[in-house]
Amino acid sequence: MALLQISEPGQSATPHQHRSSAGIDLGTTNSLVATVRSGEAVCLPDEEGRSLLPSVVHFASSGRLVGHQAEALQNSDPMNSIASIKRLMGRGQEDVSRLDDVRPYEFVTRADSSVPRIHTRGGDFSAVEISAEILKVLVQRARQSINSELDGVVITVPAYFDDAQRQATRDAATLAGLNLFRLLNEPTAAAVAYGLDQNADGLIAVFDLGGGTFDISLLRLNRGVFEVLATGGDSSLGGDDMDHALGEWIIAEAGFSDVDAGLARRILLAARAAKENLTCAESTQITIDDRKHQWSATITRERFNELIHGLVAKTLTACRRALRDAAVSKSEIDEVVMVGGSTRVPLVQSMVAEYFERKPMCDLDPDKVVALGAAIQADILAGNKPDSDMLLLDVLPLSLGIETMGGLSEKIITRNTAIPVARAQEFTTFKDGQTAMSVHVVQGERELVSDCRSLARFELRGFPPMTAGAARIRVTYQVDADGLMSVSAEEITSGVAAEIVVKPSYGLTDSEIESMLRASMDHAREDIELRMHKEQQVEARRVIEAIDAAMKQDGEALLTVDESASIEKHRHSLESALETADTEKLRRLVRALEEASEFYVARRMDNSVKQALAGKQIDEVDV
């Protein structure tokens, strides 16, 4: 007997034509899958009623385990039980060695790929492959729960995920055999779960405190478009730190001096249980009882609050910084959304409420809220809503630019542009007879390419030689709804074209990505000054280049020795100052050289006119 769901008016599907979809929160510690049933977003539990799937994959010599069973094997077999794989998504070999919070897995690289793989008993696997294993389990659960294949899924990613990390997530979806409708930013999903996207506009703070990470995101909603104003946080701050703080208190109170790994683990488990009890109770009993140690005490919520006060205060410091980055004041925030299991802690709720001077939204289960928002978005994209005018848009987290002469980044699509988007800009050649141009795609807010992230490089070759500045090269940047980009370049007069899809080169750590935005603000002034300096250098080189070319051609014929020496003198003082002079001095020297050679330019003009007319009858000249 079929089990039917209530549809929106007029949206009943014909039998076997149900459009099913799911939203997936692919988390660092835990993952969830949710779907919309009879108009309500619900997280789908497994056979034992558990919604959370630990994001741990265990590789045995035959087969693999995902979730609770894999998590249980983490202590006894850490090298073959891979956890927190999300931290490695989109990362290259050199990044892996820099990530100190990643377990000491054994990494191997193959000659044919730059992607690091983790060596396990069951083989070598990349982060994408391991994430795909988690996705497969979630989707299998969804298929059973919906009793149908999925038409598509929405997967959430942190707002600060860059292109490489998004691409890796997308690859994992493909590998798991999923039709990915799109990737959705986690804070945006949380806002959607609370229906905030139904409002016309507003400023939303999403406070996400999980087990091991803290993220604060400021979103501006403007006519259905969520714009990420700022992100911040701490990639190693979360509920686990509260357990540690309480654990240290236990050790101090009990006077344990011989804490080995086993006892430490028992203490942490007791601490976590006590923390969870204190969410509702004013006090709770902590008992440590093994063969060697017997200890028991009561802890009040007040005492616990004192222990974790510093940790919670740290999150508020990050909030303050994010507000400053976004240049908004606390009073402008319309809603504060709580995400992540650790926001259940009463002190977190009260301190956040006090800081933002409003009651945060925490009616939905903070562990599930991101998955629920993703499910709502997936349901819309599957076509289950009628006159759905709310097709959620996201924005680019970082600007996309192109390298121009002097190592400067010219931004083609600025950050916070709603995607999908396509923008084109025309460039030209720098040298006479230039027949190729290198297109270097960079991401970031800084003015210098060396401070931005390099995404891709390709060359447009084989357009006809022209004088400098005559070629018209149109470069088009396109970003699809998932935030993934393609770049094309075309020389318009000849039609020579080249195109690439950006398969980003891997290269940044979490904190680097997060600090990129901050750095762009901190360095705004010096960046601009540096940019002006570089531009002046480029201009100086262009003038020298032009003078040299002219002198070579007709310098001897048109200039006296004195004239030539005078131009040469100015040229020399400019060239020798090129690397050392400040912007203003360079500008003066460029102007001096231009003035000193003005008469020469005029004489060349006359001369070329004379040459064009020489030996011709008046009626041969086209006038």
Partner: protein
């Protein structure tokens, strides 16, 4: 002429309506389609159509168009959970034969 909701079904419908935040009731109906001829329709109702009949059962307004009512008279709608799946089930005395999946039927 009547259509019944089980207690479970009625409470789920009320829950879903409340969660949706709008809608006056539950539309039940049939449409000609599917592998065995007729398929069930189960939708939220925002406004009544001409020819709609409205029953009030267990606090839920059930809306059925006159044409569908012929095929649904005496039906009881239940809410069931099978394995991980859950949803509404039609127990229809008029249905003579259903396709394997039960999504469509003949009378």
């Amino acid at each position: 002429m009547a259509i019944h909701l089980s207690d479970k079904a009625a409470s789920r419908v009320q829950h879903f309506l409340q969660n949706r935040g709008k809608g006056i009731g539950l539309r039940l109906g049939v449409k000609t389609t599917g592998c065995s001829g007729l398929a069930y329709v189960i939708e939220f109702v925002d406004e009544l159509q001409e020819g709609d009949e409205v029953f009030e059962t267990k606090g839920v307004k059930v809306v059925v168009d006159a044409k569908s009512l012929v095929f649904l008279d005496g039906t009881e709608v239940d809410f069931a959970r099978v394995g991980l799946n859950e949803g509404f089930q039609f127990k229809n005395p008029n249905a003579r034969d259903a396709c394997g999946c039960g999504e469509s039927f003949t009378v």
